[in-house]
Amino acid sequence: MQKNWWKVVTVLLLVYIIVAGFLNDVPRLAILNESIRNTYFHVPMWFGMILLLLISVVYAIKYLKTPTLRNDIISTEAARIGLLFGVLGIITGMGWARVTWGEFWSNDPKQNASAIGLLMYFAYFVLRGSFAEQQQRARISAVYNIFAYAALIPLLFILPRLTDSLHPGNGGNPGFGTYDMDSKMRMVFYPAVIAWTLLGVWILNVKSRFEILKQKMYEHAHA
């Protein structure tokens, strides 16, 4: 139990953000109306994705330094869950865009950039699938992983700011100040980012332990 305290934190935070996210006061803003609460559910998907993909690229680099099966598995599984978060982020974003911007997809720079980013990570799995030999697959996809992450950051955080975007916080160089959030919302938003990211890390923890175990058992059976 001592080792798993952060999983308890995850559960408590998730319950808190759902209760507070639906019931707490939010700023009364035209167009956004109650949909401003999506800030607690849509935005953390992207934060979670970025952090999971960061874990993925860190383990890809670790793999290139010390090529162990464990590093490869954690890197791959982190990319998988990061991609899942990204897909959830794009679906929730499209729903939100429909009621606030009028269309599911309005070719907003950030929408397009995040779609390209997701495609790059789909390509990562296509690349992995095309190698039969384990070490070759792990090494080449680790190198690709680094390039993918290096391309994703400007796609999501730099390019949309160089032009006009419907997304808040784009066009110019703002921080969180333009997110239409007041201090009450921040009390839910920051825990929400932590909670959803931790949930992703939890799933990553279980999935990679399972994959490592599977591999060990396979080796054991063939030894």
Binding site: L12, R28, L29
Partner: protein
């Protein structure tokens, strides 16, 4: 060990439920305060349409309850997979 963990999780769930009920009670005793705030707030923001009726009806609590049940179900499943993998790891070590 397993029983103790299960007990911990049940306690956690109860804690979460009390949190929910407390929030519910606070929200239901608060409408008087809410209205004064509405009067004081400047008219341009007070006119923005929000789900005030849904809140007054109390139907929002059903939504929160539903989402919590879904979350509880998903998390319960994740915990059970987590423990299954843990058991397998232990078996493999022996």
């Amino acid at each position: 060990m397993n029983m103790r963990m299960l007990k911990n999780w049940v306690l956690l769930l109860l804690l979460a439920l009390t949190l929910f009920i407390n929030n519910n009670a606070v929200a239901q005793t608060a409408p008087a305060a809410d209205e004064t705030v509405m009067v004081e707030a400047n008219s341009s923001t007070a006119n923005v349409e929000m789900a005030d009726q849904l809140r007054r009806d109390g139907k929002i609590y059903i939504v929160v309850g539903c989402v919590l049940v879904v979350l509880a179900g998903v998390l319960f499943y994740l915990v059970s997979i987590d423990r299954k993998v843990g058991r397998l790891e232990k078996q493999f070590r022996n």
